[in-house]
Amino acid sequence: MKIDKRIILYQDNQMSYEERTAFEIELVKSPELTKQMESYQRILQSIKVEEEKLVDEDYFVNLIPKFRINLSEGKKIFKINTAYAITFTAIILAGIMLFFNPFKTSEFNSPDKIISTLTEHEAADMLNYYYDNTSSISNNNLSESSDSLFSELISSELDFQESDLKSLSRSDNDYLESIYAELQPEEVDLIYDKILKTKFF
């Protein structure tokens, strides 16, 4: 049940003389209105506390010293916070530069870079590994359409003429072996180094 708004206006002296008189007449006649008025007055009375009796003066005596400490610490905290903020920003910026550096070249992760870190044996093992795995893919495993598409793509990429392709297709392992047999070990090393350092794509 909501309180009659006029009770609050009456208590707050917010009524005109006529309104006040009419309300007082109704108040006498209506027990419900009287009950509400008493209830409102009782509640306002019950929420009042005598603050002077409650006050622990120690708290109020210490209020100023505590404030003065906070004031001086506040200045220190501001300085510390500024130092932390600068350090934090610098760390974040360094992190961004490290991971998302827009000026960073792809050299860091390039095959050249990786290969340059390998020893000769490691590089040879790597080549053998790739040779073993890729040699298992023979033309027989590819469908005819895939094979022609693959050939077209390679020839367009390497800019081969048809005659070159024919000569390549004629060459076999014996032919390559004969070339290899004629090479001196120094020449093999030279070619090997050259292959490692050449960017094919």
Partner: protein, 184 residues
């Protein structure tokens, strides 16, 4: 009995570098500052936090005080704003930490009131007021404890008198409802 120094002289003294004048201002208004913050926050520790913040704001902003209103009105406005800000921050904290919104009241065990009976009564009032939405609580406190008129509250808060009356009416109804629950 020493003659009371006017607010004007205290402010001027502080602006001229006399720190003791600021202490005198605090001593003059500390009870009013504390009790408004206490009624708004519902417990001693939170009230104390608001009080310290208010004093810092006063210290920093007093140089901008133009005497366009009384010093008390100016201070009261700071207390009111800081209390509402604190309540916003506290409810946000409660949401983030999934705490019960009434957590603030648990803190009231630490209090400045030694008398057990009075402390209990004060806690009941704190609990009652905390159940009102902040805006209703603010106008209820200003009307019933600080005995301000709607016109004064309107000047302090910048809200319309109609809006304040509506908030007060809803606040009173809620309090009456809660009190009935307590009595039952």
């Amino acid at each position: 009995m020493p003659e009371e120094i006017s607010d004007y002289d205290l402010v001027k003294g502080f602006l001229n570098g006399d720190e003791a004048s600021f202490n005198k201002i605090i001593n003059k208004y500390k009870h009013k500052i504390y009790w408004h913050a206490r009624r708004m926050t519902g417990n001693h520790l939170d009230a104390d936090e608001v009080v310290q913040e208010v004093l810092l704001v006063m210290y920093k902003k007093l140089k901008d005080f133009q005497f366009k209103s009384s010093l008390y009105t100016w201070i009261y406005r700071i207390v009111s704003t800081r209390s509402l800000n604190f309540l916003r921050k506290r409810s946000l904290r409660n949401i983030i930490s999934f705490d019960d919104p009434s957590t603030g009241l648990v803190r009231s065990k630490e209090d400045i009131v030694d008398n057990y009976e009075m402390a209990e009564k004060l806690q009941r009032i704190d609990e009652l007021l905390q159940k009102l939405p902040a805006k209703q609580r603010e106008v209820f406190v200003m009307r019933n404890y600080d005995e301000l008129s709607y016109e004064e509250i309107s000047k302090l808060t910048g809200k319309s008198i109609g809006g304040l009356k509506a908030n007060y009416f809803h606040g009173v109804n809620k309090i009456m409802e809660l009190m009935r629950d307590y009595e039952d």
